[in-house]
């Protein structure tokens, strides 16, 4: 035998959340908000992105390059580019190509409005793992209401270009009180469009949603029907399209994460690194620290009593999520 242990017994299955980040030498997943600039101004945007909303101190090309070199050197297996709208970054394709050449699997999260046939062909050649398109509505009416400056037909056109090029497509859907009833149709539409996966969950009270919550917030009764439909659609599309959704409320999830932090770093456009999107805590700055240092800080930061306190405060005041953009440095 190679060793006493049987290898078959050595691979307990686990989700990232169940994998103790403390055991790992580097993150397994980095979600990089490449820029805060966006061509749309969505009612629910958790990042408060929009036209003219790029941070003044976003990573320079040199800083971004140094960051990506470290991602490759640390063999981070999975990364996503989001925003804002990541395709608006002037070096978007070069950065995507750099990572894919070095075997990091890359997902792009986009509104798809700027995806041309040529651009999608380039993404296929680069070898991105998937492009996730935000499609918050099964109809033009609801989509355009949610995605201010957005256009349902342009999003569909972008998806069609992706499919024609052979790029795997995923769909993301944020529910609100005026589109939540369309969830079944939205899953059907995703399948018709050739999506491999469909993602959704509860819309968060943060970012732009703080100002528009009175127009957005679904009732618990609506959420009940929403999740019921999703369970049915999961069964209906089993083996054909994966339907992923988080039924768990934010508080419940954060309490779980306190004890099981995911091996995931959230990197903001300026290189600051958050513990998790739904908390205001910053555990590093990639302009001044190496990825290795930030990873070590990340593991310590989850143990900081202020983190646990914030999560418990959410129990009595769920609207504290309105302050997620007031960063707290740990």
């Amino acid at each position: 035998m190679l060793e006493a242990a049987s290898p078959g017994e050595a691979i307990p299955s686990a989700t990232p959340a169940q994998t103790s980040a403390g055991d790992l030498g580097a993150p397994l997943y980095i979600a990089w908000q490449v820029t805060n600039e966006c061509d749309l101004a969505c009612l629910h945007c958790i990042e408060e992105s929009g036209p003219g909303k790029a941070f003044r101190d976003e990573l320079s090309e040199r800083q971004a390059g140094a960051f990506l070199e470290q991602v490759a050197a640390e063999q981070v297996p999975y990364m996503s580019f989001s925003g804002g709208e990541p395709t608006l970054h002037p070096r978007f394709f070069e950065m995507a190509g750099y990572l894919c050449e070095r075997q990091t699997q890359l997902k792009i999260e986009t509104n798809a409005h700027g995806l041309t046939a040529e651009g999608c062909e380039r993404l296929r050649r680069i070898g991105v793992k998937a492009v996730q398109v935000s499609l918050d509505g099964a109809t033009r009416e609801t989509f355009n209401r949610m995605r201010v400056r957005g256009d349902f037909d342009r999003a569909l056109q972008g998806i069609a270009h992706l499919r024609a090029a052979g790029v795997p497509v995923e769909i993301n859907y944020s529910p609100t009180r005026f589109n939540i009833h369309e969830i079944g149709l939205a899953v059907d539409l995703a399948y018709e469009l050739g999506a491999e996966s469909f993602y959704t969950g509860r819309t968060m009270y943060t970012g732009n949603a703080v100002k528009t919550w009175h127009r957005l917030a679904p009732s618990e009764e609506q959420y009940g029907g929403f999740f019921e439909s999703l369970h049915a659609k999961t069964r209906e599309y089993a083996g054909r399209m994966r339907v992923h959704f988080h039924e768990m409320g934010l508080l419940e999830e954060l309490r779980y994460r306190l004890h099981h932090p995911a091996a995931l770093l959230i990197v903001l456009p300026n290189g600051l690194v958050k513990l998790i999107n739904a908390l205001p805590f910053v555990c590093g700055d990639l302009r001044r620290q190496s990825l290795k240092e930030v990873w070590a800080n990340f593991q310590r930061a989850w143990q900081d009593p202020r983190v646990g306190q914030f999560v418990e405060d959410l129990a009595s005041d769920p609207r504290k999520t309105a302050t997620l953009h007031q960063w707290v440095f740990l």
């Binding site: 190679l2 078959g8 055991d23 999975y78 793992k129």
Partner: protein, 84 residues
């Protein structure tokens, strides 16, 4: 035989991890399992060649290694982590 398209392997102090990026599931590997996956990731080949390489690299009987590799490879296949 090779790691499935959406599966990434990384060595760790405790052994290694396999990350299936579509389902975002992580599988922790002990050093023994990691040694096998390292060989598969480095030079995908059939099971008998894999057993031969491991027998050359580690002390142990070929029969015992073959039994363990067969069980482990079967387990990886059943989880969709390997493809031909």
């Amino acid at each position: 035989m090779r790691l499935a398209r959406y599966v990434k392997f990384r060595e760790e102090r405790f052994g290694g991890v396999l990350f299936e990026t579509r389902s975002e599931k992580v599988f922790a590997l002990n050093p023994t399992a990691s040694a096998i996956v390292r060989e598969i990731a480095r030079d995908g080949s059939d099971e008998s060649a894999l057993v031969a390489r491991l027998t050359d690299s580690y002390n142990g009987s070929r029969a015992a290694i073959a039994t363990e590799v067969a069980a482990f490879v079967g387990d990886l296949r059943s989880r969709g982590l390997l493809e031909d």
